[in-house]
């Protein structure tokens, strides 16, 4: 019990103020109602109101773990229950007794309000009186006498205000209420709403004034106007703050709801909630409350299967419903997912047909997404049986219209048999945001400041492309370059994908402008550059939702009126990214991947993302492995007997296509389009180089590489979540050997003795890179993820011939490991090669001191293999 109470404590902190406010209101109402009842004992409506109010107070106390309040309220409820059942007459004495109980409750609530805990005290006398009446024993007189006694016993309690209040008539108790309720007052949403509208208008007017004053130069009005402007901003911020609430407050009731549903339906359900603290506008929150409840109910009732069904489907018996909320740009994303049966498209089709919502021919050409969208139609329900919980067909259509009313969108993804996920995107606030005003093709647009990272002014397009123009323009002015058709900007050490606003919006670009500006925006967890013609200033804009007939243009999140009275559209960078084909979807688990939380394999690496292969999948490769990115014109691609090659820096470079069916993989009979070109990743090692032909370079990102091994696809190490999206991590070794069979010196004759090498490396990625590399070079390889694991292998009697170890590892680093190895044991004499990301003589000598035989840079395969060969040769000689 104690544990449960402790567990509740966090929730209580939030609930207590609300409880106090509510209870105070109820108490005031009770006072009035009791007095009314006394005057008119036959008034059943008042009686049941009183009963209900006391019952609610009792119930909430029990929930919050307030035993003293609960006991008093319970005793009072007993009396009222008897009265309601007609077993007890309403006499002034009974009323007084109940009022006395209420006064006691008020005193306790007052103590609760000031100290946050129930004050100590003994309510035995009050409770005993109430119980006696409830039991029907005591009549009027003793009770009246006792009620005085109750007041006396109250005076013994430490709560100073209690004794004075108890005997007073109800009207005087307002003082105590005021003291408790002083910190918070309840204001109707309409009042806040009106304030917000007024502030919105004020901001617009302020903007207009500022606009005017800009053209006037400095006048006597300038200074006061400046002040007015500041005050307006502060006022706006203040009003906004009154409206923000954590989304968790809309979720409070869900655990209970799910528990009840689970009982009712005989299912096992856990509800997981993440991101409760995400704050959003109260108005938005209120409008989301019912849709959320409905959707969770739907998930529990329709989505999840019974334990038997789940077992039969090979799933754990307990179904999961996951709620997740997080910010993305100026929006809140709420996800409601379950791992239930998912949507049965056939069932939906049949239903749509039965309901006459679509004809068979129409259904035949619909995409899955369009068919799923039927569940948002009015009167549509796929539940076979209408249950008490859901399935009456009032629901998802209401959910969608509620969400759309606040300028939000709802998307549904579902896999039959594996579950469904609703993604709701709603604006953070419906009110006012700061926005950057830009223009493209003569039209102005607003970009919410919150998603603007920086502005980069660039010169006009330079003709880039073609082999041989490497390392162009290192430090000179920024310029937009092209990889194939894709414009990119090399911004510091990253490739920034660009979209031109005017072409994206299908407007005629204004010709001949000398410079353009790139607005670097944060989309999802990546960056996107939006190319605009001109950038004006920032302005506070009042976001107004777009008309319903424009909702399908997802590139706009709203529209607004500027200070000069013109109407402009507000761009949604995420929508822009989606339209441009740049995925902006953050990984569902993005919230837990925040820096510092992950331990262990936490190295951030620069990764090149590119698209390739028949399916156009996204691949990743560490940028450090790639020597250069080139765009090779079709005319430069020649064909040798073994495949396509190109002349690259005076040598023939073999080209390997990731997609055997791609355009340049084999010589095609048709005349090649001379203008076409092929993006190529160049891998170089010493004299040798090789070009990997891909479809498009997407981006360079810095991220941790955590490979979820699997797939078993050739040329891929596994799949990892990189910058919020799934990418296949390239097994460079596979592709390099396709070009040069002896890339890793692999054509050496199979040695009589195969040496056994132990690789100690904490990074999954490098471990997975090293093992095949060394295997290809003719070694047996054992891998260990940490120094401790390696030492355990030693103590377990593993026999190896050499050790290759990383230096930077958590817990015990490479130096420590080498010292431990050298201290004794089976491996004390083995050659040890250190692998490091950083070079430097100091490091190297430290490594040698620690006992390493040799020192190699990571990624220098040839050096590593050479070093191993030498070390092992010496070993043999010794």
């Amino acid at each position: 019990m104690l544990l449960v109470a402790a567990g509740l404590w966090g929730a209580m902190d939030d609930l207590l103020p609300e409880f106090l406010a509510e209870t105070n209101e109820s108490l005031a109402e009770l006072d009035l109602a009791l007095v009314k009842l006394e005057r008119n004992p036959e008034d059943q409506a008042t009686l049941s109101l009183i009963f209900r109010l006391v019952h609610t107070i009792k119930g909430t106390c029990g929930f919050l773990g307030l035993p003293r309040l609960e006991r008093v309220a319970h005793a009072a409820e007993n009396v009222l229950g008897r009265v309601r059942d007609g077993e007890l007459a309403v006499t002034p004495d009974v009323i007084s007794l109940v009022l006395a109980a209420l006064d006691r409750i008020k005193a306790i609530v007052a103590g609760l309000g000031s100290t946050g805990a129930e004050p100590a005290g003994d309510d035995g006398a009050v409770i005993a009186d109430l119980n006696r009446v409830a039991a029907g024993e005591a009549a009027a007189k003793p009770v009246a006498a006792k009620s005085g006694g109750a007041a006396e016993s109250a005076s013994a309690s430490p709560s100073a205000s209690a004794p004075e209040e108890a005997p007073h008539p109800p009207a005087d108790t307002q003082g105590a209420e005021g003291a408790v309720g002083a910190q918070t007052i309840r204001v109707t949403v309409e009042v806040l709403e009106e304030l917000m509208t007024l502030v919105g208008e004020l901001v617009l007017t302020r903007n207009q004034l500022l606009q005017l004053s800009r053209t006037q130069g400095t006048t006597a009005f300038s200074a006061p106007l400046q002040r007015l402007s500041h005050i307006t901003s502060d006022l706006q911020e203040g009003v906004m703050k009154t409206r923000m609430q954590p989304i968790g407050s809309a979720w409070n009731k869900l655990p209970r709801l799910v528990r009840d549903l689970a009982q009712e339906t005989g299912k096992k359900i856990v509800l997981e909630m993440r991101g409760q603290e995400t704050e959003l506008d109260r108005q938005v929150l209120e409008l989301m409350r019912d849709p959320l409840t409905h959707m969770v109910r739907n998930s529990a009732d329709h989505g999840l299967e019974t334990p038997e069904e789940r077992r039969a489907a090979g799933k754990p018996e307990t179904g999961r419903i996951m709620l997740n909320a997080y910010h993305e740009g100026g929006h809140i994303i709420i996800e409601i997912a379950d791992d239930g049966r998912g949507l049965d498209l056939d069932k939906i089709r049949a239903k749509a047909l039965a309901k006459g919502l679509a004809t068979e021919a129409e259904l035949a050409v619909m995409t899955e997404a369009q068919i799923r969208a039927f569940i948002f139609r009015a009167g549509f329900s796929t539940a076979a049986a209408i249950t008490a919980i859901s399935g009456r067909g009032v629901g998802m259509d209401v959910v969608r219209s509620n969400i759309e009313r606040i300028g939000g969108t709802i998307e549904l993804s579902s896999t039959f048999g594996a579950g469904s996920c609703f993604t709701i995107k709603i604006p953070l606030t419906l009110a006012i945001v700061s926005a950057l005003i830009v223009s493209a093709a003569g039209e102005k647009f607003a970009i919410p400041q919150i998603s603007v990272m920086e502005l980069v002014r660039v010169g006009h397009d330079t003709d880039s492309g073609g082999a041989g123009t490497d390392e162009k323009g290192g430090g000179t002015g920024m310029a937009i370059e092209h990889i194939g058709e894709t414009p990119v900007l090399r911004l510091r050490d990253r490739l920034l994908p660009l979209v031109s606003l005017s072409s994206l919006l299908r407007m005629d670009a204004a010709a001949g402008s000398e410079t353009t500006t790139v607005v670097v925006t944060a989309v999802g967890s990546g960056l996107l550059g939006i190319v605009v013609d001109e950038v004006f200033d920032t302005e506070e804009i009042v976001v107004k939702p777009v008309a319903p007939i424009l909702r399908h243009v997802t590139m706009f999140s709203g529209n607004t009126i500027l200070g000069d009275g013109s109407v402009i559209m507000i761009l949604d960078p995420n929508g822009v990214a989606r339209s441009a084909g740049v995925s902006s979807r953050s990984a569902p688990g993005a919230g837990e991947a925040s820096p510092g939380q992950r331990s262990g394999t936490g190295e951030r690496v620069a990764l090149l993302l590119f698209r390739a292969g028949p399916a156009g999948a996204t691949y990743a490769v560490p940028l450090s492995l790639v020597a250069r990115l080139e765009d090779i014109p079709a005319s430069k691609i020649e064909y040798s007997a073994s495949g396509p090659v190109t002349q690259y820096r005076g040598q023939l470079m073999p080209l390997v296509a990731m997609d055997p069916g791609s355009r340049f993989a084999v010589r095609s009979g048709a005349a090649e389009d001379e203008a076409a070109s092929q993006p190529v990743l160049v891998f170089a090692d010493g004299e040798r180089s090789m070009g990997l032909m891909v479809d498009a370079i997407i981006d360079v990102v810095h991220d941790r590489l955590r490979i979820e091994l699997g797939g078993g696809q050739e040329g891929v190490l596994g799949t990892a979540v990189i910058a919020g999206q799934a990418a296949d991590v390239l097994d460079t070794g596979h592709w390099l050997t396709l070009a040069w069979r002896d890339w890793f010196g692999g054509d050496k004759p199979a040695t009589a003795v195969r040496h056994h090498v132990l690789v100690v490396e904490d990074s999954d990625f490098f471990r997975q890179l090293l093992v095949p590399t060394l295997s290809a070079a003719g070694y047996d390889v054992t891998a260990a993820g940490s120094a401790a694991e390696a030492l355990r292998l030693r103590d377990g009697g593993l026999v190896v011939d050499a050790i290759v170890s990383d230096i930077e590892m958590p817990d015990m680093d490479g130096f420590g490991f080498a010292q431990r190895v050298r201290q004794g044991g089976a491996w004390a004499e083995l050659p040890m090669i250190a692998l490091t990301g950083r070079g430097g003589a100091a490091d190297e000598s430290r490594g040698r001191d620690a006992g390493f035989t040799d020192y190699c840079q990571k990624f220098q395969r040839e050096a590593l293999i050479e070093s191993l060969r030498q070390c092992l040769a010496q070993q043999v000689l010794v």
Partner: protein, 161 residues
Amino acid sequence: MSSAATTSSGGQGGAAASQAYVTLMLGDQLCGVPVLAVRDVLAKQPIARIPLAPPEVAGNLNLRGRIVTAIDLRQRLHLPKRAPDAGAMSVVTEQGSELYALLVDQVSEVVTLKAADMERNPPTLPPVWAENSRGIYRVSERLMVVLDVDKLLQIDTGMAA
């Protein structure tokens, strides 16, 4: 002067009595809109175009601080485009608390007509007119098409709902 309720129920309510219509011109065609559905009549306004919007949507205009979506009825009813220099007047109407400006060539008088005199659409009316018309009146030797504002505002956005 009007409210959402009257807009949506429109002319049907006046079956017993008579109904006032704002008359307007679209090309050579006389049209009428129930007067209760009209909030404002505007002279030519600056209209900010909206990229990617359906072709019927001419853009946005600012009506005393409210954003109004302008629908070009010529586009909507498949009429030839207005000459670029010809000014368009707008009839502002409200639907679901959103304001829409219907761009027409000319707005003229208000006429009051008996509901009983309304005739049904002739079956030969082009489909786009038939869909958006509630019926036909004979007004001073000319035929007036009663436009159904709610239908006019149902613009196909190219998305399956």
